[in-house]
Amino acid sequence: MEIIKGVPITSYILLSSILFSIGALGVLYRRNALVIFMCIELMLNAVNLLLVAFSRQFNDSNAQVFVFFIMAVAAAEVSVGLAILMMIYRNTKTTDIDALNKLKY
């Protein structure tokens, strides 16, 4: 197998930080619960990318196994989260998270 000479790890750290920040920005910026879910996926993705980059840097396959488990947890989280979202929509007829403010007072 041919060895791919790579990009330095600092570039990947920078890319992951930017992607994670965009995800956090989206969680704060949007009010639609579905888009907030997507932004959480974006943040998980940034962490996965960083783990894979460090796995290459340190020649360690344990990090890639952890990425595998993060993907499994993300899939389970999305299936349950979207079921909860459907329940919320059935009861309140909206996906606006500001409609769910009963715990605020």
Binding site: Y29, N48, R56
Partner: protein, 166 residues
């Protein structure tokens, strides 16, 4: 060098589409841009010699999770008209908070020393053969627990989406 160009190209696509996920008005456009971001990330995995993870990433994210998202958007019938509006002060605050978070990350990580390891001595760690040995060796118990997690998630999803009878 070709990998450098590919890296910058994929980085540009990932960041551009991630911004469009956040700032698109219509949720279906957000979902479609998120799929492009996932494909760009899978390309990054290929550049990092993690071929198995790239394949799993496309299968799980673009194949399963995004289909679920798009189905939910279809069933809830979401579009631009029903999109809730936020006040300008919240938007400005959110933008400032996101930018400051990114700034803190970059500033904290800028001066760190990355330990120099003998790189690329073993390029095959991302192949399914090596990963399978690790996964079914040291990580056998977590692997089976994740199976139980999936089962409980399935039961939970079915239970939650059932029509409740009062």
């Amino acid at each position: 060098m070709i990998t450098q160009y590919l890296f910058y190209f994929l980085t540009f696509i990932a960041i551009f589409c991630a911004l469009l996920v956040v700032f698109s008005k219509n949720p279906i456009y957000s979902a479609l841009y998120l799929i492009i971001t996932f494909f760009a990330t899978a390309g990054q995995y290929f550049l990092l010699n993690a071929q198995f993870l790239a394949a799993v990433h496309i299968i799980v994210y673009a194949g399963a999770i995004m289909v679920l998202f798009i189905y939910v958007i279809m069933m809830l019938n979401l579009n631009k008209e029903v999109e809730p509006h936020k006040s300008n002060i919240t938007k400005i605050t959110a933008t400032i908070c996101g930018c400051v978070l990114g700034l803190v990350f970059v500033a904290a990580l800028r001066d760190t020393d990355i330990a120099e390891v003998s790189e690329y001595s073993n390029p095959g760690i991302g192949l399914i053969e090596k990963l399978g040995n690790v996964l079914f060796g040291a990580y056998m118990v977590p692997f089976e627990i994740s199976a139980i997690l999936f089962l409980s998630a399935m039961v939970g999803a079915v239970f939650l989406s059932k029509k409740t009878i009062h």
